[in-house]
Each structure stands twice: as structure tokens, then as C-alpha cells.
């Protein structure tokens, strides 16, 4: 036991959990916490310009490093601002800890109108966090931190929040610091494993569908071993991109979600539809299993709520992805489960058909995406904003290294990509990090250019500019009689970047990126590359085209029939 302030206890507890950086904004109710971090070796704070960036950066940091990202904000409005980053992290099951201040203890819940007061502020983020705790004394802080980290390291990793009133941050008392909580990886019941092995050996058209849970479990190598040991090809969800190299001969590639593409010439959907056995690994199967009840679904998921939700014909395997695959492998080898023809030729044939059909569908985005793919180094981390190029990247950008593809999941929120890219770069300072974003999304968090320059966070940002919320404008034009207030008044992005001390470049044509991106990466500085695309007519993103058949996307004469 040692006599510590709450701020000191927090800093020391975070360091014990392996935390090296906190993304935050200092403020009146968290002075004690800020001082604690300032004075503790081995941990530092990066101050952002808006609280939204604290959690976005923490998320980017977590996704690339495999560690837990930590953000810190003042109470009330600080939490509201930080909540947007938590929604993205929640949608991608990313472990982000939000440390939030509170109003003075005796005023909590009384509605006296204190600084930054929000009554029941936990409720602001309760739907996007898996665990919340308020520490009312310094001695509770080691427990709060240890438990928050344990929560994010076990089960489905999702954000958590700790609230600390200002008195707690500065009071001193005897505090018992804690060691990191031991983590046991869950392995499914042996009978279920045997059942799964029998099903796999009997199947003729098996398929592995890998989601983001593979990355969260650091199970990438195990997944590849599973595919190779069983000669079963792999398809990934958007969240699972990179868990197996796209160049691997057993990798079909990614689909945004299995059922979303059924209305197109989509080879991946049809391959999955024809499977007689689907091994889901760490995927929520957002819109179901195209193969349906005629296939056996072996569902490997750490979240027991997901196990039997998708279909009745399921062999649930409740467990950690890596531990479950490692438990299956010797059983599969013993059963000669790999004794089947290699599917590599079929995978190669499918990939060629995908490329053929999609070129016709995706002009003019496709050549630009392909050029970006050929230009950006293979090991680079790319954070894809919510834009046309971001949507196409979900299925068609080739990713060959784990934890190098980042998107916003079903959150699909504008504004996430630039600060998330900054957080990713903090996690991997020696690796190129590129943010691909539209002008609409970039301006949500453009002030973080200041953060990038201050802390030498050298992200290259490819900023596609059409001076419009282009997708919205097109849809309003097509279906609602005309666009309305979607045009954007933008700064000169080159001058804008330079005004912060960053580097600004401008492409005359998108294909100029072929020369500009390598030049930008060499500079080792924050760079904005302004890419005007006002002349391009961009069709509706085909990958969410099915959403446009929803009646609520067009004007109606009466009420919409409920189904």
C-alpha cells in the first residue's frame, strides 16, 4: 500500500496495464488526473483540439496495435463529444477506455447546474460501452482500471468508461495498486469441437467466413493455418479485412456483408450461398448467412449472444477465436479433414470473375482505387473514410498485412477517419499511415491538423474534394426533386494545411496521386493532398445499393407498410 492521489493512482494503474499514451483534453475537473499522468514516467498525454478526436485516436491506436486505447475528457459535454468515437469503436468491437471527469461528489444527481454537469452522464454512453464505473475514492481507482482492462480483454472487446469526480483526483489515501488481471481464453466444450470436426470432414463445399473477431483475438496466423490444414477457402467481412492476406491462394477476398450484395453480379455472395458448411470466425453475420439452413453453420464467437442468432442449423462454438482454432487444429488433423482437393483454382477463377464484373460496375472509381493500391506500400495502414472510395475499398482494396485496414464499421460516420488515422500512426510511428477521406468528412475534425503538427504525427491524407456532400446531393436530385444545402464552402486545402505548419499538395487529376503519395510519404510530415473530383459523376455506391430499395429513401404518398 502507498499513499497516492487519485490522479497518481490512475497514472500508475494505467502504466501497469501497459498503457503508454492517453488521448485527452485537460480541463478543470480533471486537473488532478492530468497532473498524475504528467508526473508518471512511461505514460504521456496527447492533447487533441476536440473531444471527439480523443476516442477516435484511441480507437485507431487500439485497432493497429492490438492494445487498448485510452481517452480522457471533462464531464458532461466532454463525454457527449467523445461519444462519437465510442460508437465507431463499439461497432467494430474495439477496446477503448474513456476516462471522464465528474462534477463534485456531493452535487452528483442534484441538478444544481454545476460546470459541465449532465445528470446520469453514464447514460450518454451506456449503449456504446460494455462496462461503466464511478470511482468515489482514490483507493477504488486501481480496481476500476484493472476491471475496465479485464472487461476489454475478455469476451467481446468493447469500449468501457470510468468516471472520476474531481475530489478523487486530488485526495490522497493509502492505495493498493493491482497487477493485471489474469485472462483465460475461453475454449468451447470438447463435445462441440468433435461435432464441428465431424461436420467439417463430411462437407463438400465448406467455406470459412472470417470477421473482425479474428483480429481482436490476434488469431490471424491461426486462421491461415486452419484454412491450409483443411483446404477450406476463406472469405472475410469488411471488419475481417487483412486477417488473411488477400493474396493468399485460399482467400476469396472480402464482402461488405454476406447478404448485402445479392442483387448484383456478385461472385462472393454466390460462393457463400452454395456452401454446405460455413465456419464463421469472429463475425456477427450482420445480415445473415446466404447459404441458409441448408448449410451447417459452425459459429465460433466469443459473444454468446451471437452464437445461435443467425440460424437454427448451427454448431455453436463459444470461445476465443485463436484458442478455439488452436483446439480444433489437432482434432482436424487427426480426422484428415484436409483430405480434399485444394480449392485454390476455384478461388483464382472467382477472383478473376470479380475483377471482370466489377470493372464494368464501378467505373470511374475503379482505376483510381487500383492506382492507389499500386502506389501505397503494402504494409501501410490505411484508414478509409466514409466516401465512395471508402465503400469500394471494403470489398476491393487488397490487404495483405494484418491490422492495416481500418473502416468505421456499421457506424459509417463522417469525420472519424482523420483522427483515427492519427491514433493509428501514434501506435506505429515507423509505418506509413494514409487516410483516404472526402472533403465533407475531413472538415468534421480538420482542426486536428494542429494535433498532427504539434506531435509530429505524420499521416498522409488523400482528400477527395467535390465541394459537396456528393452522395446525398445525387440522391436528393434523383428522388426528391433536387438537392438542398449539400454544397460545401471549403478552404483552399493546400493553404489550410500550410497554415498549421503541415504540408499541402494539390493533384490536378486523381491519377497524379501516383506521384504525389510516394513524395508525401517521403517527407515524414503531416501532408494533405487535395484531389479535386468535382468533374466526376459518381454513381450510387453499389455495395449499399440494396438500401436504396428501402421505401424510406424516396418520397411516399401515404404511410409505409410495415412488415
Amino acid at each position: 500500500m502507498t499513499k497516492l492521489s487519485g490522479g497518481e493512482a490512475l497514472a500508475k494503474s494505467l502504466v501497469r496495464e501497459g498503457c503508454e499514451v492517453v488521448f485527452g483534453i485537460p480541463g478543470i475537473q480533471i486537473y488532478g488526473l492530468v497532473a498524475g499522468i504528467r508526473d508518471e514516467p512511461g505514460i504521456r498525454m496527447i492533447t487533441t483540439r476536440h473531444e471527439q478526436a480523443t476516442t477516435y485516436m484511441a480507437d485507431g491506436y487500439a485497432r493497429v496495435s492490438g492494445k487498448i486505447g485510452v481517452a480522457m475528457v471533462v464531464p458532461g459535454v466532454g463525454i457527449y463529444n467523445a461519444a462519437s468515437g465510442l460508437t465507431t469503436a463499439y461497432s467494430r468491437s474495439s477496446p477503448v477506455l474513456l476516462i471522464a471527469g465528474q462534477i463534485p461528489r456531493e452535487h452528483i444527481g442534484r441538478g444544481l447546474g454545476g460546470i459541465h454537469e449532465v445528470i446520469n452522464q453514464t447514460n450518454v454512453v451506456s449503449t456504446v460501452t460494455k462496462w461503466q464505473y464511478m470511482a468515489l475514492t482514490p483507493r477504488e481507482i486501481p480496481y476500476a482500471v484493472s476491471e475496465a482492462f479485464r472487461q476489454m480483454r475478455t469476451g467481446r472487446p468493447r469500449p468501457t468508461m470510468i468516471e472520476i469526480p474531481p475530489e478523487v483526483a486530488v485526495e490522497r489515501e493509502e492505495v493498493q495498486l493491482r497487477d493485471t488481471a489474469p485472462i483465460s481464453r475461453i475454449v468451447p466444450d470438447h463435445k462441440q469441437l468433435d461435432k464441428a470436426v465431424r461436420a467439417i470432414t463430411k462437407s463438400d463445399f465448406p467455406l470459412i467466413f472470417a470477421g473482425g473477431g479474428v483480429a481482436r483475438s490476434n488469431a490471424e496466423a491461426a486462421l491461415v493455418e486452419l484454412a491450409e490444414a483443411t483446404n477450406i477457402p476463406v472469405m472475410t467481412s469488411g471488419g475481417g479485412k487483412g486477417v488473411i492476406p488477400d493474396s493468399h491462394p485460399l482467400c476469396y477476398g472480402s464482402c461488405i456483408s454476406p447478404s448485402a450484395e445479392q442483387y448484383e453480379f456478385n461472385q462472393l455472395f454466390e460462393v457463400m450461398q452454395s456452401a454446405d458448411l460455413v465456419i464463421g470466425v469472429g463475425s456477427r453475420f450482420a445480415l445473415g448467412n446466404p447459404a441458409g439452413e441448408s448449410s451447417v453453420l459452425i459459429n465460433i464467437n466469443i459473444d454468446d449472444a451471437e452464437l445461435t442468432r443467425i440460424q437454427a442449423n448451427t454448431i455453436p462454438l463459444h470461445g476465443d477465436a485463436k484458442a478455439t482454432i488452436e483446439a480444433l487444429l489437432p482434432l482436424l488433423k487427426e480426422a484428415n479433414a484436409g483430405d480434399r482437393p485444394s480449392p485454390a483454382a476455384g478461388v483464382a477463377a472467382a477472383r478473376k470473375l470479380i475483377a471482370y464484373y466489377d470493372i464494368a460496375e464501378k467505373e470511374p472509381q475503379y482505376p483510381i482505387l487500383k492506382m492507389i493500391e499500386d502506389t501505397i506500400p503494402d504494409e501501410a495502414v490505411i484508414v478509409w473514410g466514409v466516401s465512395q472510395f471508402g465503400m469500394y475499398a471494403r470489398t476491393h482494396y487488397k490487404v495483405n498485412h494484418p491490422k492495416t485496414y481500418i473502416d468505421s464499421g456499421y457506424s459509417l460516420n463522417l469525420g472519424y477517419s482523420f483522427p483515427t488515422a492519427l491514433g493509428a500512426k501514434v501506435a506505429c510511428p515507423d509505418r506509413p499511415v494514409v487516410c483516404v477521406v472526402g472533403d465533407g468528412g475531413f472538415m468534421f475534425a480538420a482542426s486536428e491538423l494542429s494535433t498532427a503538427v504539434k506531435y509530429d504525427i505524420n499521416v498522409v491524407t488523400v482528400l477527395f474534394r467535390d465541394d459537396d456532400y456528393g452522395n446525398v446531393s445525387r440522391d436528393l436530385n434523383e428522388f426528391f426533386g433536387g438537392t438542398y444545402e449539400t454544397d460545401l464552402h471549403n478552404p483552399d486545402f493546400v493553404s489550410f494545411a500550410e497554415s498549421f505548419g503541415a504540408v499541402g499538395m494539390r493533384a490536378e487529376d486523381p491519377m497524379d496521386l501516383q506521384k504525389l503519395i510516394p513524395k508525401a510519404l517521403e517527407l515524414e510530415a503531416p501532408v494533405i493532398i487535395d484531389v479535386p473530383i468535382t468533374h466526376m459523376q459518381l454513381p450510387r455506391p453499389r455495395l449499399i445499393r440494396h438500401l436504396y430499395s428501402s421505401p424510406w429513401t424516396t418520397p411516399q404518398e401515404g404511410l409505409i407498410q410495415r412488415t
Binding site: 463438400d204 463445399f205 445479392q262 442483387y263 448484383e264 453480379f265 456478385n266 461472385q267 462472393l268 455472395f269 454466390e270 460462393v271 457463400m272 450461398q273 452454395s274 454446405d276 446466404p290 441448408s294 482437393p341 480449392p343 483454382a345 476455384g346 483464382a348 477463377a349 472467382a350 478473376k352 470473375l353 470479380i354 471482370y356
Partner: protein, 120 residues
């Protein structure tokens, strides 16, 4: 094109001695490729020497269908049965060429040519 509805596929099987000719008509995609597989599986006996897929009336085949044909090809290869396709339409020829399938499977212009080549 996969609209979610089940694609229509019909097969006709003819057998003469140890040669099996399977005519595939319609479309083969994710909704019915396993049906094609089980048809071929049940139609071909272990002692058959030649299997010809006559694709004259096939309008479309997706990766799911190609996957089936590949698996059949490997299975037949193990039992030393020859497999070939014939009478491809322009559309199917394009799919075979784009996918590289024309290098994985023997393809002939007509049924007669296929028979002559494999029986000879």
C-alpha cells in the same frame, strides 16, 4: 444475375457404355450449384470412363458453378475418368476465358469433337 430468386437449371443425362453426357440447361449459380453437383455425382459411376458436360443451353454460370465443376473434375481424375465440356455459347466461353477455366478443363466446340477426342 442473382436476384435472390432460385435460378432455373435443368439437366439431362445420357449414357452409352461407359460414356456419360450431361446436358446442362439454364443458369447455374449459388442457388442451384449443389444440385448440379449431386446430379453429376449420382449420374457418374465409378467405372465410367468419359463424362462430357454439354453446355449448349447453358446461359450463365457463376463462381459457385465453376467450383462444383472443379470438384467434380478432381474427383473424376482420382477415379481416372476423363471430363470435358463442349458446345459453349459465347457468354459461357467468355466466363471460362476470364476465369482461366479454359486452362483447367478440356473444352471442345461440339459434342462429336469431344467424343472423338476422348474415345479415340
Amino acid at each position: 444475375m442473382n436476384t435472390g430468386a432460385k435460378a432455373v437449371m435443368n439437366t439431362t443425362v445420357q449414357r452409352k457404355n461407359k460414356t456419360v453426357i450431361i446436358e446442362v440447361e439454364g443458369q447455374v449459380d449459388g442457388t442451384n450449384s449443389r444440385k448440379l453437383y449431386s446430379t453429376i455425382q449420382t449420374s457418374v459411376k465409378h467405372h465410367d470412363k468419359i463424362v462430357i458436360l454439354d453446355l449448349k443451353k447453358l446461359k450463365y454460370i457463376s463462381s459457385a458453378g465453376l467450383r462444383v465443376i472443379l470438384l467434380i473434375a478432381r474427383t473424376l481424375q482420382n477415379q481416372k475418368t476423363q471430363l470435358a465440356a463442349c458446345s459453349l455459347t459465347n457468354e459461357i466461353q467468355k466466363i471460362f476465358t476470364i476465369s482461366g477455366f479454359h486452362q483447367l478443363l478440356k473444352v471442345y466446340n461440339t459434342r462429336e469433337q469431344a467424343l472423338a477426342a476422348l474415345q479415340g
